[in-house]
């Protein structure tokens, strides 16, 4: 029996911080009205003020103005809104050509595929063996009909941070709009809209100990965007549906609670697991970059063993991690990210992703390392691939 679960899958979801819950609570029980216009009743005006304050504080961390931020139900909606909104607005005026990277997360990747089925031409940018996009290829693919480029700020699986400034410069030189999915970097890796000419940015609360089901899309002033979901006139008529005010307030609180010290501590755990795994366990490959990497992410392939077997063994010992193995995924497909950086299926199947959060400690990292060492050894003993490699 286990008395403790060590959660190392903080890129998927995070434990809510109590302080976030405390900030949200009044908007469930006291100020529960919808945000009304300034001519509405007082509870609605209070709600609206809570929403505005949340919007302003999140916008400030991005170097943006409050009007440029639209609350959504999270990463998936934000990226749908960005891609479908821009293509919708520009397809007649400019064209519907879209460029994304090969290793985007599903909200961008599958929205692009959906647009492709509806007639958009989509180009998928190559990445190098650490996951960085090919800037020259990007430059060469942009045409007069290119409506949007969408390249993530950092990768969901291998943590590789893109040179978003260089990407943004290529796009602005050619007068093409740029969207970036910053789900895995927001508050963890600096991104300032005053310094980097990105037009649209997807952010989400679920990766930073905020509530799930809350996100936002930064939309630079003047960016053409067609409303993609029909309904009411909320969010300056950019996003239909009553605002999730407790969610927005919780998101703002979660943003406020992330500190540079916390990010440094996550990076120490990341570096420790990478260094120790490479030192202590034979036949291990780091996936992604050692340097240009989000502070919370480590992704390693343990060769000759399959990922789902490792995650199940870890689960039985109380550790929650994820893998790029086909056997683990809902689609039963191997990680498109590991394949995208030139890895083969064996590398994807044996990959484990560890993502750290506020409630992890260095002791957790040591504990998972020692469990891993035993598990990998045990599974290699029964692996015909390992037997042949010796």
């Amino acid at each position: 029996m286990l008395d403790k679960i060590t959660y190392l899958d903080n890129a998927a979801s995070t434990r809510l911080d109590e302080r976030v819950l405390k900030a949200m609570k009044p908007y469930f029980f006291d100020t529960y009205a919808v945000a009304t216009s300034e001519f509405g009743y007082s509870m609605g005006i209070d709600a609206k003020e809570g929403l505005m304050a949340a919007r302003g504080s999140i916008a400030r961390t991005l170097g943006a103005s409050a009007e440029e931020l639209v609350f959504t139900s999270g990463e998936t909606e934000s990226s749908n809104m960005a891609l479908k909104g821009v293509i919708g607005a520009l397809k007649k005026k400019k064209g519907s050509h879209l460029i994304i990277s090969r290793i985007e997360d599903f909200p961008v990747l599958n929205t692009a595929k959906g647009l492709e089925r509806q007639g958009s031409k989509v180009d998928y940018l190559n990445v190098d063996n650490e996951g960085a996009v090919d800037l020259e290829q990007l430059d060469s693919l942009i045409t007069k009909g290119t409506a949007l480029v969408s390249i993530q700020h950092a990768n969901q699986e291998i943590g590789t941070i893109q040179d978003i400034k260089a990407i943004a410069e290529v796009c602005s030189d050619k007068d093409v709009l740029l969207h970036t999915d910053a789900t895995h970097t927001f508050t963890r890796v600096p991104l300032d809209m005053k310094k980097v000419p990105v037009d649209l940015v997807t952010i989400s609360a679920h990766t930073i100990h905020g509530p799930r089901g809350v996100g936002a899309l930064y939309i630079r002033e003047g960016t053409p965007l067609e409303k993609w979901m029909d309904g009411g006139y909320q969010e300056s008529n950019r996003r239909a549906g009553p605002e999730n005010i407790p969610g927005a307030v919780g998101f703002a609180k979660a943003v406020e609670l992330v500190t540079p010290e916390e990010n440094a501590s996550l990076a120490r755990m990341r570096d420790h697991i990478i260094t120790k795994a490479l030192e202590d366990i034979p036949h291990v490959t780091l996936n992604g970059s050692r340097i240009d990497r989000t502070p919370q992410n480590a992704n390693l392939t343990f060769h000759y063993v399959e990922g789902e077997s490792m995650t199940l063994h870890l689960d039985m010992r109380g550790f929650a991690v994820s893998t790029g193995s086909a056997c683990f995924s809902r689609s039963l497909e191997a990680s498109h990210v590991i394949l995208g950086i030139g890895g083969d299926h064996e590398r994807a199947h044996g990959s484990l992703r560890f993502t750290f959060g506020r409630y992890n400690t260095m002791e957790d990292v040591d504990a998972v390392l020692s469990a891993l060492k035993e598990i990998v050894e045990k599974l290699r003993e029964i692996s015909p691939l390992y037997a042949n490699s010796r």
Partner: protein
């Protein structure tokens, strides 16, 4: 931190977890009388089965397995070695995937592919034994159908399913001991060589086949 007790939820039955945690008959038999290898690292699962068979009674005296695979694969291989041990090869051949799954108390349907592989590993080890010991009674000539059924054991690494089901095989010709297999894949493709090797390995043991030719598409 969360306190977890009896309410820990695993996606598998107790029996599967037991065989996964502590698999039976693990390892390799260096002087095996028959061995079978199914799957490939590309598809994510691979299982090897080794047999020691009493030549007089054809009873399986010893059986071992190795697995590069997920929990379902390991657990099925473990249970199937237990089921086959002590049986004659004729009886062991009849063990089905359904029987193995029932013994395990059920498996998630999406994991069927991974567990079928273990059953196929056992059958191919028995076939290997029979071929080596002249027990294949009627040596049927290799036909397109025989080739096709063997190719169902060659994985398409891009899909994780076999090359027949994923329509990678466009044509099969068998003529005067030579098999020609046409694949809808350029020769320069990253998986071209892996698929070719796997394919040749599956066909070259056919008794009346002298040569296996793999033809890729151009470009």
């Amino acid at each position: 931190m969360l306190i977890a007790g009896d309410n820990l939820k695993f996606p598998y039955t107790e029996k599967v977890l037991e065989h996964f945690r502590d698999p039976k008959n693990v390892g390799k038999l260096e002087d095996a009388d028959g061995k079978g290898l199914e799957g490939s690292p590309a598809c994510g699962d691979m299982v090897a089965i080794y047999l020691k068979v009493d030549p007089k009674t054809t009873v399986i005296d010893d059986i071992k397995f190795e697995s590069y695979g997920c929990a379902s694969n390991i657990a099925t291989a473990s249970i199937i070695t237990e089921m086959a041990k002590g049986k004659t090869i004729a009886d062991a051949k009849k063990i089905t995937w359904q029987e193995a799954t029932e013994e395990l108390g059920g498996l998630p349907p999406v994991k069927r592919h991974c567990s079928v592989l273990a059953v196929e590993g056992l059958r191919s080890a028995i076939r290997d034994y029979e071929e080596k010991h002249g027990l294949v009674s009627e040596q049927e000539p290799t036909t397109e159908e025989v080739v096709r059924s063997r190719l169902k054991h060659v994985m398409n690494p891009m899909a994780g399913l076999d090359i027949v089901r994923t329509e990678l095989v466009t044509k099969i010709e068998v003529k005067e001991g030579i098999v020609r297999v046409l694949l809808d894949l350029p020769s320069g493709h990253q998986f071209a060589n892996a698929i070719k090797e796997d394919l040749v390995e599956k066909l070259e043991t056919l008794w009346d086949i002298k040569e296996v030719k793999v033809v890729f598409t151009e470009g």
